[in-house]
Each structure stands twice: as structure tokens, then as C-alpha cells.
């Protein structure tokens, strides 16, 4: 095996480049480039994948006809269903429930708990998951959760940071709910036993997030989403709320303009099941696995845009489908971890982006789209990136600065996940910088929601990444876990109230699916694609080329 020889994880030519970073490091300890002006931000954003030409088109059918989205997204909205509506036997209902929740990340799990708190019996709730309960982007959230709970902070300040970060396109009343509920959510999590980082005196550690004007990030080492999710999932299990795993929803049911349940598909046996529900909460997460514009992703295996696809057929309006969040610091080396999330908390703790000449070229905590675009400019316009052995370009994230600024051993204590990730590949991030490049991270838009998670379709709520409006055109760090927990709770409460006054379940039909098929045919779209896709396909091409589909 003639593999390249590595010295502490890096090939020799990269080692020599690291020396340049080391050389300028003492000067950079006390130097941070200033934040960009609005004009400078607008200029660099032209290089962002959302704004660079190409890659998008208008949606040809449905409630958002004419709106623009990435080709990968529009492909799925213009795809034919997985089922033939007339071939589905609707005469036997397998699960008759009050509240059906689709997706078990932070949003879906908290929706279940709060519906239960609101008096809906555990056995009148059903949580279904495509993979296992908790296999979600939530569990991978590293950096933290924002909440304006410090004396010198205020909810209106959190509001302004959020809406400015979202380029003023956010839905005001929804952002208001987000920021006003935030301190309550942190308090609730602590009461449930979540362990947030504390100072020596017991006070909450509060850190910077990109695009914020004040420190208000609450973290649990770099396992924030994991800690929050496993705590509320444990509570969910204690309440013995019914839960199905490896059971994705592949279509909703409707009666007129009301959603009345969903059809589930056993991922392993292929059998379908019919769920009739008085209220349905969609919490299916985002779309990273669509690899928009060919970017790698931080997202989990099931992040394939299923929720908006099935909601759209049922008449739900989408919004802000035109923007995608690329996280500035995805891992770019080694090849085994390309696209992995390196939390923004690294930069808020002192790590600095540095180019091939060892220069700090950008303020480390610009809003994510600006920061990501500046990395692309450094690599592909100014040609000051670092090229990896597999031909990727990236810039250095000078992580040793973290220990210099916070004390030796800080990285190991505050970033166990990152530290572990690089150690497995022989890299000590306390000693050497790591290589980063933007990675597809977050679905900014989605199914339009009101402050209670309601959509324009009766009987259908949304919570978390699947929804649109709260983050406008660009989400801030620490607002996604918060989004899930705030609107999971609100949709659970609101759906519970709805169920109390709407005591009869609707009929289950697939009329909307038939209509949607007609609409696609009328628009001249050929039945080449089917959706939801449920999972990406990474099987080797050589193996696929010789596959015979017998079973």
C-alpha cells in the first residue's frame, strides 16, 4: 500500500504550510480583523452559492408556483408520488390517534411532551420516525442554544440580532415567539435535568454566536443537541408515549382542506400502515442530503426534504425556499470527515480563519453566509486556499489559539467531540490548525408557520427545520435548537387544544395526491422522478452497475 506518509495527521507539504500559520500566530493572538461593512458584506455575498448564478429555477406547480428554489429542491416538489393513490386500501385504519407527530428530533419529541402536559393521554399520541427516535440533525447540534437571560441582555436585542441575521426577511410574529420563549425553554431543560456548561461559581456559561451583538449562547460542551435530545427523549420514554421507528411517512391524508393523518411505510418490510389523526405535526427536519450545488453536508442520513414534499401536495405554503445555509467551517481534511460540522463555538472561543500565507483575512464571527462566502473568495478568487491531497481547497482554522486564549487543556474540556474527531485521524487540534471549507448545513425556509406552528392547512402543524419564516434568509447559530424546542412546544400545545374542540376525526382520502398528479401532468412534467426520496443513495457505482433487482 503506497499511502502518503503523514506526520501527526498531515502530509509533509501541508506540514510546511502549517509552519507559516505558526509563524504569524503570536501576532494574531491580539489581532482580529474588523467586521465588514454592509457594502463589503454585499460584495462578498455574490460568491455565496445562493447568489452565484445558476443552480436554481422556478417551481412549476402548486401553492408556490413561480417561486424560486435550488434545482435539487424543485426536482422533488415536481416529482410524482411513491404510491398510486387508487392502489392504497383505506378501509382498515391501523392506528387511530389524536395527535400524530412525524419526526422525533428535538421538535417532534418536545411536541409530544407538551401535548401530553396539556392533557392529551400518552396513548392518544403517536410519534413516528424514519430511522430511530433521535436520529436527527438535532442530536448533531454542537454549539448551543440562544436565550436572552443575562441582566444586560434583552429579548428585543435577541429579536434584532435574529432578524438582521435573516436579512430582514423573517416573519416578525414568529421571531417574537422564538425570543420571548427562549429563557423559559432553558429553564425547562434545566428542570428536566439537562446539564448546561457552568462557570466555577455555578453561573451559566454564555458565549458568542456569529452575528449576535452579545454573548447569549448556552452550551453543553460541544454536544448541546445530544444533551438536550437525550434528556427530553428519556422523559418521553418515561411517559410511555407510543413510538414507531424505521417507519417514515410517505404521504398525508386529507379531507377537503384538512389533514387527517398519514400513510406510513415500514422501511424494512415494505408494508404500509394507515394512521388516522385529528391533528398532525410535521417535524421532519431539513434537506442537507440533497447535496445542493454539489456541497458535502453536516446533516444526518435522513435529511431529505420529505416533510415539505408531502405537505406541499396537501396544499401547504412554503416560504424562503431560495436560500440555503452553508456552514463556514465544515471539515475539509482528511477525506473521511469532509463536510463534518466544526462548531461555530470554536470561533467564538478564539479560533481564527487563516489563509495559506498565515494571514487572518476575515472577522471570525460574521453571519454564516458572509463568513462562508469569504472562505470561497479566499480559496477560489484570491487563490489563497490550501489544497488537500484529494484536490479540495480549504482555509486553516487556527484552533491552537483557543488554548492560548482560554488556558491549556480548554479544547479537550470544551470540545470533546471535535477533539475526538481529529484525534481519530492523528491530528491534535490543540497543537495544529484544522482545514475547513463551507458545507451544506441548514434549510432556512420551509413550510410557512404562524407563532403556534399552524400552517395554512387545517389539522397540520410544523415545527423545527421543516418550517419557514423564523430564520428568514439565514439562520443564526443557537437559534435552531431553540426553534425546535419553542415551536415543538407551541405546536404540541396548540394541537392539543385543537383536538379538545375538534373531537371527531376526519375521513382519510388521497384526493389531494390525485389532484397533484393531474397538475403535474398538465404542466407537462414527465414521471421520471418520485418523492419523497427518504434516503440518499451512496452505493458504489461499480456494484450498482451489476445489480439485478430480483426480490
Amino acid at each position: 500500500m503506497a499511502e502518503i506518509k503523514l506526520i501527526d495527521g498531515y502530509p509533509e507539504y501541508m506540514r510546511r504550510l502549517i509552519e507559516k500559520v505558526e509563524k504569524t500566530r503570536p501576532k494574531r493572538v491580539d489581532y482580529t480583523p474588523p467586521p465588514m461593512s454592509k457594502q463589503e458584506q454585499e460584495e462578498v455575498l455574490k460568491l455565496h452559492p445562493d447568489y452565484a448564478p445558476g443552480g436554481k429555477r422556478a417551481i412549476a406547480v402548486g401553492p408556490n408556483k413561480g417561486d424560486v428554489g435550488p434545482n435539487e429542491v424543485v426536482d422533488l416538489l415536481e416529482a410524482y408520488p411513491l404510491i398510486e393513490p387508487d392502489e392504497i386500501d383505506l378501509s382498515r385504519v391501523d392506528y387511530d390517534t389524536d395527535i400524530l407527530i412525524i419526526g422525533g428530533g428535538l421538535a417532534g419529541t418536545s411536541a409530544a411532551l407538551w401535548a401530553n402536559n396539556q392533557g392529551i393521554a400518552a396513548d392518544r399520541i403517536l410519534l413516528v420516525n424514519k430511522l430511530r427516535h433521535g436520529d436527527a440533525n438535532s442530536i448533531m447540534a454542537e454549539g448551543g442554544t440562544q436565550a436572552a437571560d443575562r441582566e444586560i441582555d434583552s429579548v428585543q436585542r435577541h429579536y434584532l440580532d435574529t432578524i438582521g441575521g435573516g436579512h430582514f426577511a423573517n416573519k416578525p410574529e414568529v421571531v417574537r415567539a422564538l425570543v420571548e420563549d427562549a429563557p423559559f425553554i432553558i429553564k425547562w431543560l434545566i428542570e428536566m435535568g439537562a446539564i448546561f456548561d457552568r462557570e466555577a461559581n455555578g453561573e451559566l456559561v454564555e458565549k458568542w454566536g456569529g452575528g449576535t451583538s452579545i454573548k447569549r449562547m448556552h452550551s453543553c460542551r460541544d454536544y448541546t443537541g445530544l444533551e438536550e435530545l437525550r434528556v427530553i427523549r428519556d422523559e418521553f420514554r418515561n411517559r410511555q408515549i407510543p413510538c414507531l421507528e424505521q417507519f417514515p411517512a410517505i404521504e398525508l391524508f386529507t379531507e377537503g382542506n384538512r389533514v387527517t393523518g398519514a400513510i406510513l411505510w415500514n422501511l424494512e418490510t415494505g408494508e404500509y400502515k394507515i394512521v388516522r389523526a385529528k391533528a398532525t405535526i410535521l417535524a421532519t427536519g431539513g434537506f442537507g442530503r440533497l447535496h445542493i450545488r454539489g456541497f458535502p453536508t453536516t446533516n444526518h442520513y435522513g435529511a431529505t426534504f420529505d416533510g415539505p414534499v408531502i405537505a406541499y401536495r396537501a396544499g401547504a405554503k412554503l416560504r424562503d425556499t431560495d436560500t440555503v445555509q452553508y456552514h463556514p467551517t465544515g471539515a475539509a481534511y482528511p477525506i473521511q470527515i469532509v463536510g463534518y460540522l466544526l462548531t461555530e463555538k470554536l470561533r467564538s472561543s478564539g479560533a481564527q480563519p487563516v489563509n495559506v500565507d498565515g494571514e487572518a483575512f476575515v472577522f471570525p464571527l460574521e453571519p454564516r453566509d458572509v463568513e462562508a462566502a469569504s472562505f470561497i473568495r479566499e480559496c477560489y478568487v484570491r487563490n489563497k486556499g490550501i489544497t488537500t491531497p484529494t484536490g479540495l481547497r480549504g482555509i486553516w482554522l487556527d484552533t491552537p489559539l483557543i488554548d492560548i486564549k482560554n488556558g491549556k487543556g480548554y479544547i479537550a474540556k470544551a470540545f470533546p467531540a471535535m477533539n475526538r474527531l481529529f484525534k481519530r485521524h492523528g491530528i491534535d487540534m490543540a497543537k495544529d490548525p484544522v482545514l475547513v471549507f463551507p458545507t451544506l448545513h441548514y434549510q432556512n425556509g420551509g413550510v410557512e408557520t404562524d407563532p403556534w406552528g399552524r400552517t395554512n392547512v387545517e389539522g397540520l402543524w410544523v415545527a423545527g427545520e421543516v418550517s419557514g419564516g423564523v430564520h428568514g434568509k439565514n439562520r443564526l447559530m443557537g437559534n435552531s435548537t431553540l426553534d425546535c424546542l419553542v415551536f415543538g412546544r407551541r405546536s404540541g400545545i396548540n394541537a392539543a387544544e385543537y383536538v379538545k374542540t375538534h373531537t371527531t376525526a376526519g375521513n382519510i382520502t388521497l384526493e389531494h395526491v390525485k389532484k397533484y398528479i393531474d397538475m403535474l401532468k398538465q404542466a407537462g412534467i414527465k414521471p421520471e422522478r418520485r418523492a419523497p426520496i427518504l434516503l440518499p443513495d451512496y452505493r458504489g457505482r461499480a456494484a450498482l452497475a451489476r445489480m439485478i433487482d430480483i426480490f
Binding site: 448533531m140 454536544y223 434528556v231
Partner: protein, 251 residues
């Protein structure tokens, strides 16, 4: 314009191995791995997870976040010629020549049902819900099987003593993959024990910050109502101006 488009294409091209799978012609180094006994020749720089996919498997289980946070891809393997059984996460482990492996699709472990708001904050809570912790023979198999390199046995011993802080601290990075419980000769479900311990510590071992309680009360009492009514009714231009004039808190 032309050039910007080109940048996107160059980025997409460079990322192709991780977004659409590797192309055989790009691969220089190969290894042979045995998936449940069957041999497959795979690129040497793949992880166990991506190598299984390269071999032609479409994963429906034993896969989740693909980034080491969810614990879905617990895998047991032996290296060629070694007597020792290894356990690790498929998404975080590189393939090695001659490795033979199987993934664990599910852990059949019993989780106790409890209400932490009604439990005493002492060692008896562990004895009540997970009495098998007392069967621990200190063999350290759990620690050796942990893909996160946690001191699992130490926190089981800490649970027996009622040291909640140590249980919480030692188990904090647990991703609940279940490998410890599957290997434990005393049939302890370490990761569930740790979950109970962390929640008890989080609720009773740490204080509720005063400023947090106060802020929640202030919001409930409407202290920010006027300011929020005001800011939510602002025009885009007014908000842009306010945003540009924000004062950044000193570092």
C-alpha cells in the same frame, strides 16, 4: 458571471467523492474487508460505513448521523490475525485490510420508567431502578468497548456510591450506542444508568440560575411587551438602521 458559475462547478467537482460516491478510477489504494464473512475490495480511505455502501449495501439500520453523535452504527470487528474483538462506530473508523465485521442493528436493553421530580437524590435511586449495577465485577470490559473512550466502569462504580457528579462528568459524552451493555458480563445497561444519573445531577446537583428565573418572570409579567410591540412593528428600513447601529458587547 461566467467565472462565478465556474467556481460552483469546481467546488462540486472536488466534492464528488463524498456527495455521490467514489469513482473506481480515482482510487489508488485498496483493501479487502469481510462484511459478515463476505469479502469485498474497497478503497482504503473509506470509513467502515462508507465502505459497506461502496460494496453495494443500502443501509436502513446501523446508520444515523454519520458523524459520531447518534450511536446508531455500533460495529464489532476483528483485525486479521488478532484474537481480540474490537468495537467502534462504523462512521468514525477507517477500514483496514483483512478486517472482518458485523454491525449491531439494535440493542435489546430495558430502560426503567421513573419520574425524576419524585426521586430521592441519593444512591438508592440507582438501586431501585437498576439494581444490577451491584453485580458489577469491575472487569472493565465496558470501558474497553466504549467508542468514545469514556471511563464507563468508573461511572458505574460512582453510581453505586451515589456520586452523581462523577456519573454525569464521566458519562457526559455518551452517545448511547449500547456497546457497553452488549459486552457487559453482569448485564448492566450502563448507558441507561448514566442517563438517570445525569438527569438527577442536572436537576438536583446544579442550581437554577437566579437571573434565568428572574428573566422568565419578567417576560411573564410583560416587562418587555412594550419594547417588543414597538420593534415588531418597525419597517425594514428602521430595523436596518437599528441593526447597523448595534453596540457589540466588549469581548
Amino acid at each position: 458571471m461566467e467565472e462565478k458559475n465556474n467556481i460552483m462547478e469546481r467546488i462540486a467537482e472536488a466534492n464528488r467523492p463524498v456527495t455521490t460516491g467514489v469513482d473506481e478510477k480515482d482510487i489508488k489504494d485498496w483493501v479487502t474487508i469481510y462484511i459478515m464473512g463476505k469479502g469485498y475490495r474497497v478503497p482504503a480511505d473509506l470509513t467502515i460505513l462508507t465502505a459497506i455502501e461502496y460494496a453495494g449495501y443500502r443501509l436502513l439500520r446501523s446508520v444515523g448521523c454519520r458523524q459520531g453523535h447518534c450511536g446508531a452504527c455500533a460495529t464489532v470487528f476483528r483485525r486479521a490475525g488478532e484474537y481480540k474483538l474490537q468495537a467502534d462506530l462504523a462512521c468514525q473508523t477507517r477500514v483496514e485490510d483483512g478486517m472482518y465485521l458485523v454491525q449491531i442493528p439494535f440493542s435489546p436493553a430495558e430502560k426503567a420508567i421513573y419520574d425524576i421530580s419524585k426521586e430521592p437524590y441519593d444512591a438508592s435511586v440507582f438501586m431501585k431502578y437498576y439494581p444490577e449495577v451491584a453485580r458489577c465485577v469491575s472487569c472493565n470490559t465496558c470501558t474497553k468497548s466504549c467508542p468514545q473512550d469514556l471511563e464507563v466502569m468508573d461511572y458505574v462504580q460512582a453510581a453505586i456510591r451515589g456520586d452523581f457528579e462523577l456519573v454525569a462528568d464521566n458519562s457526559f459524552d455518551c452517545i448511547q450506542c449500547g456497546l457497553c451493555a452488549i459486552r457487559c458480563p453482569a448485564e448492566i445497561v450502563q448507558y441507561h444508568v448514566a442517563q438517570l444519573g445525569r438527569r438527577m445531577y442536572g436537576r438536583y446537583g446544579l442550581s437554577m440560575p437566579e437571573h434565568l428565573k428572574k428573566r422568565v418572570e419578567e417576560i411573564e409579567q410583560g416587562k418587555f411587551k412594550e419594547a417588543m410591540d414597538n420593534i415588531t412593528s418597525k419597517s425594514r428600513e428602521e430595523l436596518e438602521k437599528m441593526y447597523a447601529e448595534r453596540q457589540r458587547e466588549p469581548d
